[in-house]
Subunit: 131 residues, 2 copies
């Protein structure tokens, strides 16, 4: 499989595990390392797999299933690292119309591509300049 | 120079150019490609160097200098790709106390490491679960 395809496939497994509330699937998506980082929208960045895993445990256990409509999906790869820039359009009952801008970074391991960074942020309705 | 050091150096040039309002410096930090992406806090993701460059032109021209106190700086690298997870603490007169969670991705080119993705998001005072 070409790197770009493999990165897209790994990216798809991330959202599939999220939608299915599949903790084991989510765990297998991620690189279990100290350098793993995850920034959920509005959160401080969680650093290290233990903290990242705990956040998904909480999120996936909260009961309300999320559905993602992914748009503007732009994969890229250089060597053993790939990344996907995309928009997550959340289709949950309480979240109609919410768009999250996301960047997902993956690293190739012998057993496949693993997510090492996820950064999501809500897109504000009114845009203001900021750093 | 070790990759981690080189990535940190490139990361430092990004914030140095921002603080100095140095458009040429900012331009030289970035990979000028279609895959370049930039998500300023609350913004939609800008994709492609032309859009990214236009945003920095607007931000750096707006006159109010920004100062960044960088904390939780965590660099990593695999092969020709490196990334830095960090907190940007903004010290401008109107921005006291604002913390931006950021992820910066760099790719090694013959002429040095170039930023290919920047994603920043404001850390909310009250954290709520989100994807």
């Amino acid at each position: 499989m070409e790197p770009i395809e493999a990165v897209l496939e790994a990216n798809g497994r991330y959202y599939g595990a999220f939608e299915a509330g599949d903790l084991d699937g989510m765990s297998s998506v991620w690189e279990h390392s100290e350098r793993a980082t995850c920034t959920h929208p509005g959160w401080v960045t969680l650093r290290g797999w233990a903290s990242v895993a705990a956040s998904y445990f909480a999120l996936l256990q909260q009961g309300q299933p999320l559905q993602f409509l992914l748009t503007q999906v732009r994969p890229a790869a250089t060597g053993d690292v790939g990344w996907v820039s995309l928009d997550e359009n959340l289709l949950g009952p309480a979240d109609g119309g919410v768009t999250i801008a996301a960047l997902n970074v993956f690293v190739r391991h012998p057993e496949g591509w693993k997510m090492v960074c996820h950064h999501g942020s809500a897109v504000a309705a009114v845009l203001e300049p900021g750093p």
